[in-house]
Structures are given as C-alpha cells and as structure tokens.
C-alpha cells in the first residue's frame, strides 16, 4: 500500500469566479464587450434589508379587509392644469416600442388601465397600441427624439423628460440592426437594419438652466396642461432632484441601478450608478430641504418586485414607484414554459437577458412576427393587472399592520434595517439598536 499525500480540494478563486473567467474568454474570442438587457444582477443592498416593525402597545393596527387603506396618488399638481390621478402608487416605467413588440406594449397599456395606473412610452415614439389601450400615458421626451412630434406630445397625459436611467446614468442606447423592422425604422427615421444609437445627451439643451427653458417650451406647447416629469438615473440623487425641482419639474423620477434597460454594456450596468435603496433618502432630503416634499412628487424605480418593496419605498418618503422588469415578467418574460427555447439560446429561463437580439422566446423583446404571436395582449394585460393588484394588497396589508389608513402615511419610523449598509443608506436604525450610521456623529 503506497502512501498518498492527502489531496487538496480544488479551490476556485472568489476573484476569478466562473462568470468572470467565462467573460474573459468571451471577450478574448469576440473582441467586443458584452451587451445585454435588464439591470444590475449583482447582489446589492435592497429593500430586503429593511423590515417593518408593525403595531405594538404604542401603535394600534387597522383591521385587514375592513378598515380603509387609501392607495391613490396625484402626480403633477405643482404646475399642470391636468394632473395625473392614479388609483395605485405603482406605475409602468418607460419601455420603447422597438425594444418591445407591439403586442407587449398593448398588454402593458391594458394591464395599467385595468389597475387605474399609468404606462409610459420609450425611446421610439408613441404607438397606437399603447395610446389606444392606456387611459393614462406618459410620453418620454428623450435625447434621441425618435418618433417625437407635437401631436403625440399633446395627446399624452404627462411628459417625462428623460435625462438618464438607472441601468446607465450617462449612457445612451443601442438598438441592434436585427431588431429594426420596417415599422421601427420608419418611426425612427433611419434605414432598416442598421444599428440605432440613442444619444446620451439631449441635442438642444445642456445643464439645469437650459432644462428650465426646455421645460418652459414643453409647457407652452402643451398649454400648461400636462404634468412634466424629469427622470434621472441614480447618480447624484440629492443634487439631481434639487436641480430638477429648480428647473420646474412637477414630478422627479429617480431610477436606481437595478432598473432595467433594453441594451447596454454589462460593464456599464454593473459598475455605474447607485442602488435604488441608496437613492431614496437623498432624493427625499432634497425635496424636504427645498420645502417641496409632497408638492413635487417623487417616483422611484429599479428592482421593485412586491408590495413590501412598494411599502418600504413609500415609507422612505416616495410618492409612487415604477416597475419595468417585473411588469415584463408578469407578461411572460423568462417564463419556464419556454425553457427548451431558452436552452437553444444557451441560457435558461430566469437568466435570459439578451433582449437586444430580438430572439426572445417569450415574444416580448422582439420584432419577429412569429415570436410576438406568443404574447396575447388581453391575457398578458390581465396578468399584469392581477400582479399590480397583488402588490397593492400586499402593501396595504403592511400599512394596516403599521396602523396607517393610507399607504402614504407610512414613514421611516416604521422601519428598521437588517444590515449596517442598509441602515446607513435608508437612514433607519439597525434592527435591535437605535443606531443610524452617519447620524449623530457615529
């Protein structure tokens, strides 16, 4: 019997993990960075790191299913003659036609309308599908101005000036040639089949003083009727919020780095911008410092998944949240029923993020006429409405347990954090302590 030294268990590097190694090999083979859809996938401090305290001897709860808990919100009352009135504080974020199929846009409109909330156009103009099926439609005013025209501006219910988005603060977009159908090409005034770069800066204004003049122009063109939102990526939420208010915004939209995109470099998505949780308190603080909290409404987006997330965001001071990725999942995105098709694309249901390639097995992020038949806009719209209803009920359940007769009465005092990071970002005490990192000199 020969003696063998005890073997060492093969150990993979935490720094050079499997994903990292595969990415190095992919880059070496192709010579191009990875482009994908969706938002940051890395683990980040998030709403999961917060807990509600609920009622106790000093706080009494409201009765579930009996006592009223209001969910409505009015957006844009600062200057607009016709503010947006929503039944629930959950809106559908901007996603472009071009990136999404026509039936998917229609389904978003149907689901939002059934739920008494708004949906939003995207970088590609307004389609009849979404205008026709959205009772309240927010029209994005983007750097590319693809499909922009005064008629659509006037038949929108609100205008969202997009400065940036959470997945890529400071980045434009790229719609690859394979997704440019005749219809998409016509709406964007570009030849079919070529890559369409969406600009990262607006062509006719730079900086907060120009933005103020641009907002004046949009108000004059629409006769001061429409609420004007300003959307920023989660970069400098305190100053961006303050500058948007100064420029005359009715509503500020702050999108954290978990917020999705149709197509951006992986390196951009994962390394630029701040987590949603880190953006909320600075944005709320800016509004409070200006005496504009609840006068200019704050919408936060990026990784909102359920009623608890909604309730936590509202407790931290936001007026409404917006969902994009979650809404697509409700429509059928990444559904395991298409697993065989996902496997063929070298991925698996739940991980598919090559939304820019136009081969989406679920028929949502595609312009392929056969694939898009997989989305039944009526049924998918119904699923979205169901999902929004569940989120709302969940948020109400929590609010009642905290003794609130309106979701907007939730407050930071109802929350504690599970981690020091989340406590510092959200400005609420670490669970079991009265310690808020960064406050009172500690």
């Amino acid at each position: 019997m020969t003696y063998r030294n005890p073997p060492t268990t093969p150990r993979k590097s935490a720094t050079f993990d499997d994903y990292t190694l595969s990415e190095i090999r992919r880059a070496a083979a192709t010579g191009i960075y990875d482009i994908r859809g969706a938002g940051a996938k890395r683990k980040l401090p998030h709403f999961d790191d917060l807990l509600f305290l609920g009622a106790s001897i000093s706080r009494y709860p409201l009765e579930g299913y009996r006592e009223r808990c209001d969910t409505s919100v009015v957006l844009g009352s600062r200057h607009a003659k016709k503010p947006i009135e929503l039944k629930i504080p959950i809106t559908i974020a901007g996603m472009s036609f071009g990136s999404l199929s026509g039936p998917a846009k229609e389904a978003l409109g149907r689901g939002a309308t059934l739920s008494g909330t708004s949906t939003t156009t995207g970088d590609g103009g307004m389609t009849e599908e979404e205008r026709g099926h959205s009772k309240q439609l927010v029209y994005q005013y983007l750097p590319s101005r693809y499909g922009m025209n005064p008629r659509d501006l006037r038949r929108a219910d609100a205008i969202e000036v997009v400065v940036g988005q959470g997945a890529k603060p400071g980045g434009g977009g790229m719609l690859l040639g394979q997704k440019i159908s005749d219809r998409v090409a016509e709406m964007r005034t570009l030849p079919k089949g070529i890559d369409q770069r969406s600009a990262s800066r607006h062509p006719d204004w730079t900086g907060p003083d120009d933005l103020e003049i641009k907002i004046l122009e949009l108000r004059e063109i629409t006769d001061w009727e429409k609420p004007i939102y300003v959307k920023v990526g989660g970069a400098r939420p305190y100053y961006d919020t303050a500058l948007a208010v100064k420029a005359g915004a009715d509503v500020v939209v702050v999108d954290g780095m978990q917020g999705g995109t149709a197509a951006t470099q992986e390196v951009f998505i994962e390394n630029v911008g701040q987590p949603t949780l880190a953006c909320i308190r600075p944005a709320v603080q800016a509004l409070q410092d200006l005496g504009m909290h609840r006068k200019v409404q704050l919408i936060v987006s990026g990784g909102i998944r359920n009623g608890a997330d909604v309730a936590k965001a509202l407790a931290l001071g936001v007026d409404a949240v917006s969902i994009g990725t979650a809404a697509l999942v409700a429509l059928g995105d990444n559904d395991p029923r298409w697993e065989a098709d996902y496997n063929e694309l070298g991925t698996t249901a739940g991980a598919y993020d090559d939304w820019h390639e136009g081969r989406d097995p679920a028929g949502i992020t595609t312009q392929d006429p056969e694939l898009m038949k997989r989305v039944d806009p009526i049924a998918a719209g119904r699923r979205l409405a169901n999902y929004l209803k569940v989120m709302t009920l969940e948020a109400q359940t929590i609010a009642r347990a905290c003794g609130k007769n309106s979701l907007h009465n939730l407050e930071p005092e109802d929350l504690v954090a599970l981690t020091i990071e989340a406590a510092a970002m959200a400005g609420v005490p670490l669970a079991g302590t009265n310690w808020i990192p960064g406050k009172n000199g500690f």
Binding site: S144, R145, N149, G177, L190, P203, K214, E217, I221, D223
Partner: protein
Amino acid sequence: MPATNVSKATRDQSHARVFDLAELSLRELNQALHQLTPGSNETAWEVLNPKGSHSVAVGVDQPVAIDVRGSVGYYCGGMNAGGAITVHGSAGPGVGENMMSGSITIKGDASQYAGATGRGGLLVIEGNASSRCGISMKGIDIVVHGNIGHMSAFMAQSGNLVVLGDAGDALGDSIYEARLFVRGKVESLGADCIAKEMRPEHVELLQGLLDRAGVTGVKPSEFKRYGSARTLYNFNIDNADAY
C-alpha cells in the same frame, strides 16, 4: 382666458394681428396661436418687443404667417407645424427645434442647435449659425447664408443642410442619411462623414433648396456634397478607433 386676452391685441394697417409682448404675456401669445382653427382668417400675425423671450410661437399648428420684430431667445418656432415664421432679428439656441413643416426665416444670426431634430419644413438663416446646427436632423431642410459652427449635423439622420459659407470642425460626425452641401471651406469632417460626388439629382435638389430659400446668384456647382460613408452603421470592433 385667451379669447378676451387675444382681443387686447391690436391690428396694424395690413390687418395683421399685432401682439405686443411688452403688454401681453408669452402665455397669451402661444395660447392664441394654439386656438387657431383650420380655415381661420387670422392668417397674419406680428409680434412686437420679443426682447429675447424664450419659446416665442412654439407649437404652431396652422398655416399662419408670423413676423417677429426683434430678436428671440431659446426655441423660437419650436415644433412648428405649418407656420411661416420670420424673425426680424437674431435667434437664440434651438430655433425651429423638431420642426414638422412650414418655414422659419431668421434675418440675423442663429445660436446653437438650430433646427435640432427637425423633421420637415424649411429653416433659413440669413446670417451665421453657431455650433451643432442641424444636430440629429430628421428630415428638415436648413439653408444657412453664412457660416456654421463646429459639430454641425451631428448624428444627422435625414434631410438637407445647405451652407453658403464655411463649416466648422467635425462636420457631420456620425451622420446617417442626411445630405450636407457646403459652398465654402470645411474645417474638418467628423467620424464617418466623407465628401461625395455631386450627381445630377443632387444638383437638382440643391437648386430647388436654393430657390425655396430665396438665394440668388449662387450656383449648385459651387458646392461640395458630404454624407455618410456608412462604415459605422453596424457595430464592428475594428472601427472602435473611429470614436
């Protein structure tokens, strides 16, 4: 509000509706213009004392003539659809931005981003235009009697830009299908923008543009044409140095 306020406007001897911004607000002017209906007899408007106001005559959507007596600030004639706007002075940034149709004539000079993202109609600048003239243009025709600044026609998608004078640095950077005609010197061309042959159809097109812009004594043969080399239309890593 508007009906009564509009009646405050007076009329001059040519029966144009005269709107004095020293007495009436910008809001009242734009509101009155937006309330025009097809077939209205209020087809001639005169705006006095603009004094650099922003957003003068924005969102016009009827074929009316508007003479602005003086210089304007940002976004004059923004999103114009059918109006024939003449500025008897100079224009600030973004004049005629996203114009759909109609015409805008600037008797003086224009600041940055003139005609940005314009989709149709004709923008004539009788003086010089600053940087980023015709940025992201999407079908508009722009004729500049003088010179244009740097980065003009950046990411220009469609339409025609005619320059009787010189063009600054990086003309037509990342251009798509817009056509650029420059009579004078071009400081430099931007990424993927090249000089192109003037074929008979271009001569014809250019002559038509010069005629529409009221340019006389200048022949198409004096111009050079520039447009996209189309090498950056689909991403290729070997082109990365071009950016």
